[in-house]
């Protein structure tokens, strides 16, 4: 059965690529353009997985994770962080904020599906 996934990235291309890969694998994908947009779209609605970029306008991915972890609805939802190699220092920050794992951009579609399967078995 497919997962309900929220993809958060200020790059429409990256959202499209994440969405394309996951939809082809049978998942339902919602999209948000930054952390603030993600919180507004989610509210107290449940999703199975959140995939977020780090550097975004209005609210970045680290702050988004903190906000989500402070909400009982999203406290245990798996959150994957999309980082670039140059953002590697953000991995620890993301983990401290409550991220479940990360994916380094650019990623192969196979890699994305592997990581999703690992955090949402």
């Amino acid at each position: 059965m497919g997962l309900r996934v929220l993809a958060v990235d200020d790059s429409k291309t990256m959202r499209d690529m994440v969405g394309f890969t996951l939809r082809n694998a049978g998942h339902d994908v919602l999209e948000a353009g930054d952390g603030q947009d993600a919180l507004e779209k989610l509210g107290d609605d449940c999703v199975d997985l959140i995939i977020t970029d780090v550097n975004m306008p209005r609210m970045d991915g680290i702050q988004l994770i903190k906000e989500l972890r402070a909400n009982v609805t999203h406290k245990t939802t798996p959150i994957l962080v999309l980082t670039t190699e140059s953002d590697s220092s953000k991995k620890n920050e993301g983990r401290a904020a409550g991220a479940t794992g990360w994916i380094v951009k650019p990623f192969s579609p196979e890699k994305l599906l592997q990581v999703v399967a690992k955090v949402c078995p």
Partner: protein, 104 residues
Amino acid sequence: MGETFTVKVEQDKATVLLLPILDMSASDEFLNVMRTCVSSQNSLVLDGEHVQRVSTSCVQVILGAAKAVQDAGGSFAIENMSSDFERALSDLGLSEYIDKWSKI
């Protein structure tokens, strides 16, 4: 208005001449071009001769296009890969793909 991609179609193969600067501002159009090619052609070739700079999002588009073509039973390749393009892919940890995509 920026440069646009040139696509040459022969039989069931599309060859896309990549722009010198594949930055974030080019990624949306690049994705649209790739989608059109993937949905209409069996084989996809990217000509990377003029590439000087490539963004992560454009590399992401290439990775997605390659998988889509291969999943559909077609072939994907990059020809005339410039040294800047090759270096960028290598810096992003994609050296294994350079070999794979260079074999036509």
